[in-house]
Symmetry: C2
């Protein structure tokens, strides 16, 4: 396999010279492969030590302020009837990704599943029975190789747009995000420095809103022009590409990130993932989480503060109350008094508030009053 | 109300000079309002004749080749206890839209709900109890005023991107869709000629693919450059903005539209809506349906034709079989032998095929072999 890694027999497509991060990613994949050879040469059983992705191996690092993966690993052996299948699947996924790197192409995790699915010669055994199997193995491969799946040339769904006072290059094309009309620029799934290169940025901050319909209001009112900022949305829980781009803009361009989300447990959760990372994919937090993100609103105090009418509120249901209690106990919210007050106040209110409820004041209240007031007052939750 | 239509007391935002289509839309809204005054002056009970949006009032026009709304109307009277509430809701929605037009702003149907929701003075009566009520009234208003909801300044969700050899203006910004990087241009919800103006088009056709992940493959392989075309996706069932933009490009730029969808009942249905319109919103077909659209694939014959392996197929379930039988009976498929054969073959196969299954041949088989072959051979379903 170590020899094959340079040229596999399976592909006919021309191979490219690897560049940038791909060289490093390929090296990590080849290291995995080389270990098999080394074990064989030493007459030892090949194995992989896969970092454990269980909840108990994820913890909140209070210093770094994001969710981190612990040190626990599980051994996966080739010559173990219970583990052989998954061992081989892991190596197969690694070989698939190295093929993608060498071809300079990428695909979805569904695409990789189809690419690798086959009946093993001379048997009736399938490499993968369903996509759930290959998805799990891809997550293993990410932590094994220490590479985000985007670096393994795997893309996710895209949903999310961007406009604002920033110019960057995307795959060689210059994108002036201040001239993107009403539609905006679709944020791609893979936004690594090889693809997206920042050129010129006049923005002073990033405003990330939850929904595309709210984003449209901010874009129509040219909020980003008036306030010199970058305006993004992620159609609800932002996909990986949006999170990673926010991370890069925040860290490389030193832009504060403000989040405008609904005043409900789902909005709190979106904030939590943007800020601290997700528990399920703790490995990725270090390259996606933005601990300095700020929660600008909506807040539980907004019903009184903005003098809203009761008929724009939405009653909390049992599910909401349960989720709110869970979220209040997250370690990164548990010791923050303002967050405890925020969540308690929502429970006491007995209702949630969508960003759109501000339209009952005026269609542009959110862009002309609400957000500018919060920014001027420096009034947000951490 | 007729007098108020020019200047409502509710808004403080500056009013704009109406331009283009807005003049016409406002006129249609004012006509509705004027009828109330006229009735009152003649001491008659005000009423609206709302075209019936029931299924039985939608039919397939074989000459125009799209789903059309019939002539049946339902009378809605102000002085009728059963109808007064809905009558007033309809007029309220009309007044809300006229306010949007005069402010030169637009909002989502959720936004309009929040904008219009209030407790009627001196009563405990709410104008709308929930959004379902205002959504239904908006659909009534569209047919009453003979205006698409986009013309009433109401936007829908956006999901869908575009790249290709076309340059257009969006709200004054020039968008060169051949220089949009890996992300592409986010197709907005409102794409009427006042917002999107076509400038230069070198494209020979439009390729619309179902999913964003497939779109990414075509964009990465620069398919649109090689084949001089426009490449779009709609993240599944395309939203209104995507359908309307495809309609405009097809009709104004005389570009054939080819659809690359999954070989399953859902793919057939997406094609059906793009081509003939949707039964629920028959009124909009005349401005959205593209009867000359072509179904390029995937086809039920592709398992054999492309020599796919059984392990990339997905077994049909009961729901699939039921949907397929329904779709086979749609009047626009019922008398087309190739479509009957297509659907029957899928049932006989007993499985469906996703576009991604072609990756099992080669990651770029779909962009380099499958679609180019079909285009060269002129091989598609009508």
């Amino acid at each position: 396999m170590a020899k094959k890694a340079k040229r596999g027999p399976e592909e006919t497509a021309p191979e490219l010279e690897l560049t940038g991060r791909d060289v490093d990613t390929m090296d990590r994949l080849q290291t995995l492969a080389r270990r098999v050879i080394e074990s064989a040469e030493k007459h030892r059983d090949p194995h992989l030590d896969v970092p454990s992705r269980s909840l108990s191996n994820a913890h909140f690092n209070r210093k770094k302020r994001f969710i981190e993966m612990g040190d626990r690993t599980n051994r996966r052996e080739l010559f173990n009837l219970n583990q052989a299948r998954m061992y081989m699947q892991t190596m197969l996924a690694g070989s698939g990704c190295s093929r993608l790197l060498r071809q300079g192409k990428s695909t979805s995790i569904r695409g990789l599943y189809y690419m690798l699915k086959h009946t093993i010669e001379g048997t009736k055994e399938e490499t993968f029975d369903d996509q759930a199997e290959s998805d799990a193995v891809i997550e293993d491969l990410e932590v094994l190789a220490g590479a985000l799946r985007e670096e393994l040339h795997l893309y996710a769904q895209t949903r999310g747009s961007l406009v604002g006072t920033i110019t960057f290059e995307d795959s060689g094309d210059t994108i002036d995000a201040s001239r993107m009309g009403s539609g905006g620029y679709s944020i791609p799934s893979i936004v690594e420095p090889e693809i997206i290169k920042f050129k010129k940025c006049d923005a002073k901050f990033i405003l990330h809103v939850e929904k595309d319909t709210v984003w449209q209001r901010f874009n129509q009112d040219k909020f980003w022009q008036k306030h010199k900022c970058i305006l993004t949305h992620g159609s609800g829980q932002p996909p990986r590409g949006v999170r990673r781009l926010l991370y890069r803009m925040h860290n490389e361009l030193k832009l504060p990130l403000y989040c405008l989300l609904d005043n409900d447990p789902w909005g709190y959760y979106i904030y939590s993932v943007l800020k601290q990372g997700s528990i399920n994919l703790a490995f990725e937090s270090q390259r996606m989480a933005i601990p300095a993100a700020r929660y600008l609103g909506l807040r539980s105090i907004d019903f009184d503060r903005c003098e809203l009418k009761p008929n724009v509120t939405i009653k909390l249901n049992d599910q909401d109350r349960k989720r709110a209690q869970q979220i209040a106990k997250y370690p990164w919210f548990a010791d923050k008094k303002p967050w405890q007050a925020e969540i308690k106040k929502m429970m006491d209110n007995g209702f949630k508030l969508e960003v759109e409820s501000l339209i009952s004041k005026d269609i542009s209240y959110v862009t002309e009053v609400y957000v500018p007031d919060r920014l001027r007052q420096g009034d947000f939750l951490d």
